[in-house]
Amino acid sequence: MNLVTSILEQLINGLRTGSIYALIALGYTMVYGIAKMINFAHGDIIMVGAYSLYVFVGMLELPVPLAIILTIVVCAILGMTIEKIAYKPLRKAPPLAVLITAIGMSYFLQSAALLIFKATPIPFGSVINVPSLRLGSITISGTTIVILAVTTVAMIVLTLFINKTKAGSAMRAVSEDKDAAELMGINVNGTISLTFAIGSGLAAVAGILYICQYPSLIPTLGALPGIKAFVAAVLGGIGSIPGAMLGGIILGIIESLSKAYISTKLADAIVFSVLVIVLLVKPSGLLGKKRTEKV
């Protein structure tokens, strides 16, 4: 009975971490689908989100709902700006150049945060105040409930947006074939900007949820969840939106189970081994489409 409870609790923990990974992975996957590049700076947008929440709530003492909206707006604008400055001029450049620029951007955000906020961790209380729930012998914390609710809503809204609205179908069209989409009268630049804005907005939400779970701010806080979310995106099949959600949740559960039952120190190694194994066995991921390369 005890083992069952502990496994169930670890599964819930995994679901919580996994849904944050899923939110971040959505940003990677959307940007990859449209711009065919890995936005390395995506993880650091989580960090920017966490710090902006701290500035709005902790320093300016704005009401929490307003602060959350402002945080999302700040990150969305940041994402669009990064695309305009760094990625747009390189659309026809070799992939290696884009990749190095993206790494540079990620490094830039981290070191700018380091200069502004210094390396000492800033303690920051959770903005979520929901009582925890008891189900039999299992306790589910309020943070977990909010995180699960928010991610579920975000995913449903995103799926509806992509499948039902005009802007959503423009996004799908651009990701299928950029030139053809342009000929059909779709504003390609605008669509790419919109994708970056949505992805970064989701990263901001993930950042807010992340610091509710680990309430301490450091400039590199986005790096590790960013990379793990990328692993999740690859696991689910990069470019596929349901894949990102599935991959995130599976990865979160793997991580939490290996932390609990194998070794805390080796949990990261296990997560990255998942990436290596997926790429070896099925590089297109669980739900990804296989693309053949043309000459």
């Binding site: 290696l96 990749l99 190095i100 540079g104 830039f108 380091l114 990436l275 290596v276």
Partner: protein, 322 residues
């Protein structure tokens, strides 16, 4: 053709002798303070790292973010050998360097084989993942001292013993530059320039990719051993993602696929932060800006536009002169 080659190798030998003499004079005359002298070995280590990474990033055209991982494997292997073998320093160090390089090369093979199928972004992420795996395994196992690190490593490679490090720098540069100008090197470059075409003309992509990985990892391992015996203490966190990026910045600044550039950039980027002590907190920001600006300048058509303007101006002045 032969004459040209001979001339080139004579120039190279003269260059090596001159730079060795320059370092000797600089260290022994005391022109460099203690501070600067202590930077000579780290500069050398960075040169080896940058040149070896250049083989992968510049010539093979694949970005790897796990170079610090190879370095750490070499460093730990070498340090464990000098700590536990009980041999006289010279033999222990030589053995350590060879073993460090070889073990790193084996890991290069282990990592090189699974990433054969991957290119570009995926390869970068997987090597990053491998770097993190190596780091967390080094933290988790006992014989490396875990997160506390491995300390008390005998300092065999201080600036007083610069000759050994110098020899290894020269060896690295000679081997890698000779290799890239050889048949194998041309094959590696052709994979970078056109993957499909080089496969179609019968170049064994897997073979050359693994070859590049193994050689690059070997020299990163050697650099790690030299580093370990210079600082005397190793911690898994010294070899994180940031260290790999630092090496990448050197390669990018020096020019991808340019070995001379890597050497110069390694010297500049190791000495510059020391000269601008007050601005040290801006170092990371500077690295980031270097990466972004170099890429935008070289690839967005800006370079061509500026060159064209420069050319047309020149033409106008020469025409005017006539």
């Amino acid at each position: 053709m032969k004459k040209k080659k001979l001339k080139k190798s004579i120039t190279n030998i003269i260059l090596i002798i001159i730079s060795y003499a320059a370092i000797t004079i600089l260290i022994n005359s005391g022109i460099l303070g203690r501070q600067m002298s202590s930077l000579i070995i780290p500069t050398g280590v960075n040169i080896i790292l940058a040149v070896s990474l250049n083989l992968l990033t510049g010539f093979l055209g694949e970005l790897t973010l796990g170079h610090a991982g190879f370095m750490s494997i070499g460093a730990y292997t070498g340090a464990l050998i000098t700590l536990n073998s009980g041999l006289p320093p010279a033999i222990a160090l030589t053995l350590g360097i060879i073993a460090g390089g070889l073990v790193a090369a084996v890991f290069g093979l282990i990592i090189g084989v699974p990433v054969l199928r991957l290119r570009g972004d995926y390869l970068a992420i997987v090597t990053l993942g491998f770097g993190e795996i190596i780091k967390s395994v080094l933290t988790a196992v006992n014989f490396t001292g875990g997160a506390m690190g491995l300390s008390g490593i005998p300092k065999y490679t201080t600036y007083k013993n610069y000759t050994l490090v110098f020899i290894f720098i020269v060896l690295t540069i000679l081997i890698i530059s000779n290799m890239v100008h050889s048949r194998h090197g041309r094959a590696i470059c052709s994979i970078r320039d056109n993957y499909i075409a080089s496969e179609a003309v019968g170049i064994k992509i897997s073979k050359y990719k693994i070859m590049a990985f193994v050689i690059s990892a070997f020299f990163a391992g050697v650099a790690g051993v030299l580093y370990a015996h210079n600082v005397g203490i190793l911690k898994p966190n010294n070899f994180d993602y940031n260290k790999s990026i630092e090496i990448l910045v050197i390669v990018v600044l020096g020019g991808m696929g340019n070995i001379k550039g890597s050497v110069i950039a390694a010297i500049v980027l190791t000495l510059l932060p020391e000269l601008l002590r007050e601005a040290d907190s801006y170092r990371m920001l500077f690295y980031a800006i270097v990466l972004i600006v170099m890429m935008l300048f070289n690839n967005s058509g800006l370079k061509e536009r500026i060159m064209e303007q420069f050319k047309s101006k020149k033409q106008v002045t020469t025409e005017g002169g006539e």
